[in-house]
Subunit: 87 residues, 4 copies
């Protein structure tokens, strides 16, 4: 009698263990999947950041070139009207 | 004899179950933490995207204003030298 | 005889004087016209110069605003990925 | 008596003619000088106009390049967050 009761208890615990192990495997798969997504996302963010930095450098170049153009215009205006006053 | 053997087996399975449940709780905490990080990261990315879109609109405005300035310069050049030829 | 010869010479000189005075008046009118054109042209050039200077100031403003936009983009890129590493 | 009077008159007219011719030569020189200045000024204005047109073309180029940069930024923003949603 004692033996059959213990058998039932052992079976119940074994059943619970199996369920818990299944849940465990699911959680580990979920975690691995999410970690993979985070890693992919970080690689993408890094790539995005690099692209943005390239655009920033391009923008720096354009601002520099506009400043050169501005200086040429300033010199042109001044130069012309120095000459005009000499006449 | 049979009863004491079953008791040992049951204890072993119970021990394993407890360990698995502990591991389970750890995994769930890890998963919840990671999901929180992913969510935070998405909120940040969304906020980052909005800031970039604001900058894009500002850039659109600057390009539009430079185009207006360019048109003013074009009209000024043409206008002046139409007048100059009339003289 | 001497008197009529002198009369002829005097008439010839008077004729020449009249022609020269007519030519003189023409030259003075031409000169006044040209001086007027030069003055008008200088006023126009001065006005043109002022317009160009206004455009130059506008261009300075646009370059300044593009530089501010560039700085915002730089801060945005850096700020985001400082946050990203903290995660 | 008549002859000496005519001689005086002729001398006076000759004197006046000489003065008028001198004035004429001065006016012609002034006119030639002014015409030279106008011509020089027109050449300079033409050269100035060409320089301004060159700057205008440069400005067109810079605006075009800023527009390309703007389009790259727009594509980058959209592209990134399409990818982000797929995750």
């Amino acid at each position: 009698e004692r033996a059959s009761e213990l058998q039932l208890q052992k079976d119940a615990v074994s059943q619970k263990l199996q369920e818990t192990e299944t849940r465990n495997a699911e959680l580990e798969a979920q975690l691995a999947g999410l970690e993979q997504r985070v890693e992919t996302s970080q690689v993408e963010q890094e790539s995005f950041r690099k692209s943005l930095r390239s655009l920033l450098e391009l923008l720096d170049g354009k601002i520099f070139e506009l400043t050169e153009l501005r200086d040429s215009l300033a010199k042109l205006i001044d130069g012309t009207f120095v000459r005009a006053r000499v006449e």
